[in-house]
Symmetry: C2
Subunit: 340 residues, 2 copies
C-alpha cells in the first residue's frame, strides 16, 4: 500500500552521473515522491539542479540529513556509503545503496528485482544493488538456471568509462582529442591512457590475482542466485566507450539446451531484450543500449568448448539497469509489497 | 644453408598496413634479399615506396609477376591469395600467405615458428600464417600444454581496427573526431560506429552462430597444436583501438598448475614477455604492445571457475607477430632448415 502523499526521498550523490540519471528515471516512472532532498559532498553544496519543474539546491550530506526520510538512495563513494548508510538507516530510512560497502553482508539483501525480489522481505534497513557488471549477468543467467541449472560461467567484460564517473568520461574525451591531434594523452583518472586503448584493470587487485571488480562479479552473482559455490570467473576490462557495459558470456548448463529454447527463455525474462540477427548486423551495441532500460542479449550460440554450454553477448546501460534504474525498481517493489 | 646472394622476394599487398610493416621488419631483421618486387592491385600500381635507401615502384600483381621468385609473401584479400598463391607456387616460389584461403587445407602447413616449426618440413609450396587472434593464443597455450595438456579454452578478444586495414583506422579517427565535435559518426567500413563503441562482429557469420573470425580461432588453434578435438570457444570483438589485439583467456588444464609455475613456463617461451605486476598497474596494454615483436601476457591467476584452470590476459601487435613478423620468421626458419 502506498503511503498517503508519497515518500520523503533523500539522494546522496545527486550531482554524480548515476545521481543525475536517478533523478531522470524517478520522474519518468513517477516514483511517488512527497519531498526530495538532494545531497552531495561539501564541494557541490549550494549548486542548483533542476528536477522537472522544480529547482533544487544541493545540500551537504551530513549525519543529520536523513530525519524523516523514507528512502535514502546513495550513489557516491564506498566511503560515503559506509559513513551515511547506517546513519540514514538508524534515522528510519530504507537505504538503497549503489556501492560495494554492504553487498556481501549477510543481513543486507543484494537485489535485482527481476531475479531475487523475495530477498527484500528480510531487509534490516539497508539494501544493496549489485555492481553494474553483475546485474546484466544475473539477468541473463536466471531464466536459463531455472530450467537447467548453471554449472559454470565465464564472463569477460567491456566496461564503459561512465562506470568510473564524470571525470573519467571527460578524460576519455580529452585524451581522444589529444591523440587525434598527435599529442600525448595525459592519464589522471586511470593509471594509463584509456583513449584508443583497453585496460584489464578495474578497481584494485586482490591477493588471488583477481581485481576487486572481477571478484565482485563472482561473489555477487553467487549471492543473488543463492548458489554460494557457483563456479564462475571473469576478466573485467575498461574500454573507451562512454556508456554501457558489454560482456562475452560462456555458460555451462547441467544438460544441453537448444539455442532457440535459450532465446525463448531470455526473451520472456522481464527486463531483457533479444537482439540476435547477426547476419543483418543486429546484436547488442553499447552506443544503442545507452539510455535504454533493458539488458540486451544476442550472439546466442552453442558454445564449442562444451556440449552443455551456450555463448552469448550482453550489453546494458551501466548507469540505468546497472545502477539508478535497479535502485528505483527496488523502491517500487518495496512499495508494492508493503515492505516500506 | 643460405642461397648465395640471397633470395628473390615478391610481396603482394605491399601498400597495405601489413605490407608496410613487413618491409620494415624485413630490413630490421636483415632478411637476405637479392631482389625485391613490390606488388599490389592495379589501383596502387605506379606508386613509389621507399625501402631503406631504395625507391621501389609498385607493380600490378598479375599471374606473370612471380617468375624467378624464391619467396612470395601475400597479405591482401582472401580473393587475391586464392588467385595469386597457386600461380606463385607453380612458378617455384614458396608462398607465405596471410589470408584464410589455404589455412585449413591438409597439405598447407599453418605455422607459428615457436610452436610448430616442424610442420614446415612437409610444405608443398604454400604455407599459411594464422589469423592474428590465433597466433598469440597458441603462443600462450603451447608452453602450458607441453607439461599439462590443455583440456578446454575460452578466449574473448579485444581486436584493433588495424586488423581490418588502413580504411578502418581512418574511419575510427574520423568517427572519433565527429563524436567529439558532437556530430554523427558515419559508418562505412564497419556496419556500425566503431568509435566509442565495441562490435561483437568480425568477418561474416556462420550457420552455427559463430563469426568466421571466431571459428578461425577454434579451427586454427586445433590445427597448429595438433589437437583436432580441442574444446575451445571464442567471442571476437572489435574495439576502438588502432593497433594490437588483446584476449581474455581461460585455460583448463589436465591437472592444477601453480600460477608461479605457469608464469615461469610462459616467461621461458621464445617470443613471449610476461608483464604481470598488477598492483603496480603493470599488465599488457595495446598502446604499449604496438610496434613490439613479443606476445605479452599478464593478469595470470587461478581461474575461479575450475580447480585446473588459469586465467590470463594477452596482447600483441596484430600487424607484427599477428602477421608480418610471423611470416618473416617462417621464411627465416625455412632458410635455417634448408627447406627453401
Amino acid at each position: 500500500m502506498m503511503k498517503q502523499g508519497g515518500y520523503n526521498v533523500a539522494v546522496v550523490g545527486a550531482t554524480g552521473l548515476v545521481g543525475r540519471v536517478f533523478l531522470d528515471i524517478m520522474q519518468e516512472r513517477n516514483l511517488p515522491v512527497k519531498s526530495l532532498r538532494l545531497l552531495a559532498s561539501a564541494r557541490s553544496a549550494g549548486k542548483h539542479i533542476r528536477v522537472g519543474e522544480n529547482d533544487f539546491t544541493i545540500e551537504e550530506a551530513t549525519p543529520n540529513s536523513f530525519t524523516g526520510a523514507d528512502f535514502c538512495f546513495i550513489s557516491a563513494t564506498t566511503e560515503v556509503s559506509r559513513e551515511m548508510g547506517p546513519v540514514a538507516a538508524r534515522a528510519g530510512a530504507i537505504v538503497i545503496d549503489d556501492s560495494s560497502a554492504f553487498r556481501m553482508e549477510a543481513d543486507v539483501p543484494l537485489v535485482v528485482p527481476e531475479v531475487n525480489a523475495d530477498d527484500l522481505a528480510s531487509h534490516k534497513g539497508i539494501i544493496s544493488i549489485p555492481n553494474c557488471s553483475t546485474t546484466p549477468l544475473v539477468m541473463a543467467l536466471t531464466p536459463l538456471h531455472k530450467v537447467n541449472p548453471v554449472k559454470r560461467v565465464i564472463a569477460d567484460t567491456y566496461q564503459s568509462v561512465s562506470g568510473t564517473g564524470t571525470r573519467a568520461v571527460d578524460e576519455l574525451k580529452e585524451q581522444a582529442g589529444a591523440v587525434l591531434r598527435g599529442e600525448n594523452a595525459e592519464a589522471d583518472v586511470y593509471p594509463h591512457q584509456i583513449a584508443f586503448n583497453v585496460l584489464p584493470h578495474i578497481d584494485s587487485f586482490l591477493e588471488n590475482g583477481y581485481s576487486k571488480e572481477e571478484w565482485k562479479m563472482v561473489q555477487e552473482t553467487r549471492k543473488i542466485m543463492h548458489e554460494p559455490d557457483l563456479p564462475l570467473s571473469a576478466t573485467c576490462v575498461r574500454v573507451p566507450v562512454m556508456v554501457s557495459h558489454s560482456e562475452a558470456v560462456h555458460v555451462e548448463l547441467t544438460e544441453p539446451m537448444d539455442v532457440n529454447e535459450a532465446r525463448r527463455l531470455l526473451a520472456q525474462m522481464p527486463g531483457m531484450c533479444v537482439q540476435d540477427e547477426p547476419n543483418d548486423a543486429v546484436y547488442p551495441l553499447p552506443v544503442e543500449a545507452a539510455g535504454r532500460d533493458e539488458v540486451f542479449v544476442g550472439r546466442l550460440r552453442r558454445d564449442a568448448s562444451h556440449p552443455n554450454s551456450l555463448a552469448m553477448w550482453l550489453t546494458s546501460d551501466n548507469l540505468r539497469k546497472g545502477a539508478a534504474l535497479n535502485a528505483i525498481q527496488i523502491a517500487e517493489t518495496l512499495i508494492e509489497r508493503n515492505l516500506v
